[in-house]
């Protein structure tokens, strides 16, 4: 059974149809990449899958369980987690406080009223492991606003992983990063355990091909093509779309 299944999803904003009958699946352990020119509807698709936006038609399910009607935050307990294309963090809090919030999100004690959060050793340990893993340990006492853009992008991913997802949605994880940071981040993503299936929106073709098990091309809100990386790489029509949108030029340069 697929881990995440989207079927016949449609979404429009005040008459403007942004997604048309989109279907896609993410299998357990799979790393599935979505590509497509600017405005294709990729971020909107993420917002529909995660429940940030209500959908007009279609179904979304995790391991067979229908989730399209669940409020956004409860999907996290179904194992879904996401990052944002534009950094969406707790800017005035320290990096450590950001991780603490993320790690605590799925703990049974998240509603405890009077015991200090810092007294929970499991939370402290998990936070420390994450900070070290994502190379942000040295930065832990700085506010997120004080970090470089690339470091903030890493925090973005780290927070999503802190909720221990089984399906992780990354929206352009390397956008705005320097080439060195992009390489570092790609490696970190590759190193993620296979127990976390990935659905990733990405423009950088080098990143795409070094992560993808499968690629889906979204164009004008429709699934244009879906297949193995080699199939997509050699497809003339995909190249045409990208030359039209201008994104592949950037990637091939």
């Amino acid at each position: 059974m697929s881990l995440l299944k989207v079927e016949g999803l449609s979404k429009s904003f005040k008459g403007l149809q942004v997604l048309k009958n989109v279907s896609l699946e993410v299998e357990p352990e799979e790393r599935h990449i979505i590509i497509g020119p600017n405005g294709a509807g990729k971020t909107t698709l993420f917002n529909c899958i995660t429940g940030v936006l209500p959908i007009n038609e279609g179904t979304v399910s995790i391991q067979g369980k229908m989730i399209a009607d669940l409020p956004s935050h409860t999907r996290v307990s179904e194992g879904m987690s996401r990052t944002f294309q534009k950094n969406n963090l707790f800017g005035k809090l320290t990096v450590e406080e950001n991780v603490h919030l993320a790690v605590t999100a799925r703990k049974s004690y998240r509603f405890k009223l009077f015991k200090s959060l810092l007294s929970y050793k499991d939370m402290q340990q998990e936070s420390q492991d994450l900070l070290k893993e994502w190379d942000l340990w040295e930065r832990r006492n700085q506010t997120v606003d004080e970090l470089s853009y690339g470091e903030q992008r890493l925090v973005e991913i780290m927070l999503a992983i802190a909720t221990k997802p089984t399906i992780l949605l990354l929206d352009e994880p390397t956008s705005g990063m320097s080439p060195a940071e992009t390489i570092q981040t790609t490696k970190l993503i590759q190193k993620l355990p296979r127990t976390i299936s990935l659905l990733v929106i990405e423009h950088d073709m080098e990143v795409v091909f070094s992560i993808a098990d499968r690629i889906t091309v979204l164009h004008h809100g429709e699934v244009f093509l879906s297949g193995k990386p080699e199939e997509i790489r050699n497809d003339q029509r995909v190249k045409d779309i990208y030359f039209g949108g201008g994104a592949l030029q950037r990637a091939e340069a």
Partner: protein, 335 residues
């Protein structure tokens, strides 16, 4: 250990303060304590949950009227104060459930409307509440050691109450739920993406805040032995909002400082001139324009300067101006 010195010093100061005050000063300080509890409650939702209410007097008034109305039948102080807290918290829970969907200016308006509605009810129900004449409180403040009515006795009840509320709130904002509430204020959409139920946490903060405000109102009923619809008026809600802005939004110790400054100035200035509201208005505008972060922030900056100088005296070699400037920008969020 070092962290405890400051609060301990304040506690000792509050306990010995009456020795240095006239009986009028003692009575006035007791009122400051009641207002401090009230502003702590409003400071919780405004400074930590980001909910700006212009109707918080509703819960203060509910607490006060609970004592006045129930006091005729149940003379027990513990039962009465507990009822004031529970009743106010319950109304906060119910109204919060409806109001918290809206935010920003809408939340401000709807809380204002609700408190004015209660005001109108207290004003119109002459048979029950005495209408605009208000009603006197029949029960006396008695914790089992005999009735407390002198200014000294009231002072200590209020002083201990404000300390307890402060400590409980300090514990609360450091708890998992408290930290989540801060997270909600900082970034709702991220909290939702992490799996937090944003509404539940706002409702939790609102309910706790309502309960504390109810406690303050209950104490006020015992302090004054008289309750009037003014305790529910938007005018009063506006005043406490001014207090927390002067004192410092987003800190726990700022609002009580604001309450102290407000109540004391109000008392002294209004005995010299009738222009008190105008003078207060000017002070308020000055803080909004130039004193972001209120008195609490000014104190923090001063404290940093002093401790920096201390450090420089202790270790002249260590002169990292860069680190200090970073400390300063961090101050507001820390406190």
């Amino acid at each position: 250990m070092k962290k405890m010195i400051f609060p301990a010093a304040i506690a000792v100061l509050l306990l010995i303060l009456p020795v240095m005050l006239t009986s009028y000063g003692i009575k006035l300080t007791a009122e400051v304590f009641i207002m401090s509890i009230f502003v702590l409650s409003l400071g919780l939702i405004t400074g930590y949950a980001g909910l700006v209410s212009l109707g918080h007097a509703a819960f203060f008034g509910i607490g006060a009227y609970t004592i006045a109305l129930l006091g005729k039948f149940v003379p027990n102080t513990f039962v009465l104060l507990a009822s004031a807290i529970i009743f106010a918290a319950l109304i906060a829970l119910l109204t919060g459930f409806l109001f918290i969907r809206s935010s920003g200016a809408y939340f401000l308006m709807i809380t204002l409307a609700f408190s004015q509605m209660l005001y109108a009810v207290a004003y119109k129900l002459k048979g029950v509440t005495g209408g605009s004449d208000g009603m006197s409180v029949a029960a006396s403040l008695d914790f089992g050691f005999g009735p407390i009515s002198g200014s000294m006795g009231l002072y200590y009840v209020m002083a201990v109450s404000v300390m307890i509320c402060y400590v409980l709130l300090r514990m609360f904002i450091n708890s998992p739920a408290g930290k989540a509430i801060i997270g909600v204020k900082e970034n709702e959409s991220r909290m939702r993406a992490l799996g937090y139920s944003v509404r539940s946490y706002k409702l939790l903060a609102y309910t706790i805040s309502g309960g504390i405000a109810g406690y303050a109102g209950g104490l006020y009923a015992f302090y004054n032995y008289f309750v009037s619809p003014d305790t529910l008026n938007w005018n009063f809600s506006g005043q406490v909002l001014v207090m927390i802005i002067i004192g410092g939004v987003g800190t726990l110790f700022g609002p009580p400082i604001g309450a102290a400054v407000f109540v004391i100035l109000q008392n002294y200035i209004s005995s010299y001139t009738e222009r008190w509201p105008m003078i207060m208005g000017v002070i308020f505008v000055a803080f909004v324009l130039y004193g972001r972060g209120g008195i609490a922030n000014l104190l923090l900056l001063a404290w940093r300067k002093i401790s920096r100088r201390q450090k420089e005296i202790n270790s002249p070699a260590l002169n990292s101006s860069e680190k200090i400037s970073k400390d300063e920008t961090k101050g507001v969020t820390e406190a």
